[in-house]
């Protein structure tokens, strides 16, 4: 296995949807290739960052709905 194939199968590897032999081949490649090990870690971090944005308690307060928007929606409903 080379790095290109490793990268191709990375998502399936992390989702644990690869057949055993293929999975083992990826793990073996990673043992030999520190670049791909780093690649996997940073790919995983990319996914983690996305998830964190959605669950972010520090993010814009979700309950905070602008008054102007509420008025616009209620007006649009009356007009419809």
């Amino acid at each position: 296995m080379n790095c290109r194939e490793f990268v191709d199968f990375l998502m399936d590897y992390l989702d644990d949807t690869l057949p055993g032999r293929q999975r083992a081949a990826l793990a073996e490649h990673m043992d030999e290739c520190p670049d791909c090990e780093v690649y996997l870690e940073t790919y995983r971090e990319t996914v983690r960052l996305g998830r964190r944005i959605c669950r972010d308690p520090e993010g814009p307060v979700p309950e905070d709905v602008p008054e102007g928007l509420v008025e616009a929606i209620l007006a649009a409903r009356r007009a419809s």
Binding site: V38, G50, R51, I53, E63, L69, V70, I73, L74
Partner: protein
């Protein structure tokens, strides 16, 4: 389920009943209760505030019309989430397309022998404090918006809104396999865009 869970359910059921009865106050309550959350979702797809607000307005109008078909099998918030996602995607379709990068240019490059053309570099530790996280979150969202639209939408739906592959396939009218391929490419591209900002400084 906890008592408060029961209470929330009962509360939701009574709101739905009042909506179906066409009670004006119930519509206002729905908008006030869920509007902020829906706006946060719309903003992730539509960076222009005006567009995000339009999508939320469209979503509530659709919800008002469709409340008779809400079956209560999912939570009201899940149902509304799906509606605002559709409204945001619809709004995106009406926007004139900006020139976008080609996904191929954002994917990792390989040498002829299959080795990486540019070896990956380890990233620094993720942000702990609020200020740093606020910057990081902006960085991630800005770079998500540099992805070509077809890839960006899949990444937002799967990794940020956390819908499953089948739901995303249905919303986008694509096959589950296409969704998976696009998601993987979108992540590869985003990883590459983030790398120069997040790489650990080496001495």
């Amino acid at each position: 389920m906890s008592d408060s869970g029961f209470e929330a359910d009962r509360d939701e059921a009574s709101l739905v009943a009042r909506l179906r009865a066409g009670e004006d106050a119930a519509f206002e309550e729905l908008v006030r209760r869920y509007g902020g959350r829906l706006l946060a979702v719309a903003r992730r797809f539509l960076p222009a505030e005006e567009d995000a607000r339009d999508a939320v307005q469209d979503a509530f109008l659709s919800a008002f019309r469709a409340i008779g078909r809400f079956e209560g099998q999912s939570r009201l918030s899940t149902w509304l989430h799906r509606i605002v996602v559709n409204a945001a995607l619809m709004k995106l379709r009406t926007r004139s397309r900006k020139p976008e990068a080609l996904i191929e240019d954002l994917l990792p490059g390989f040498l002829e022998d299959g080795h990486m053309a540019h070896p990956a570099v380890a990233w620094r530790k993720p942000a702990d404090d609020a200020v740093e996280w606020a910057q990081l979150r902006t960085l991630v969202l800005d770079n998500i918006h540099r992805l070509p639209e077809a890839y960006r939408n899949v990444l937002i739906l799967r990794d940020i809104e956390e819908l499953d592959t089948e739901e995303v396939a249905e919303i986008l009218g694509a096959s589950p396999n296409a969704v998976k391929t696009r998601l993987h490419r979108a992540r590869l591209a985003l990883r590459g865009l983030l790398e120069p900002h997040l790489r650990r400084e080496t001495a």
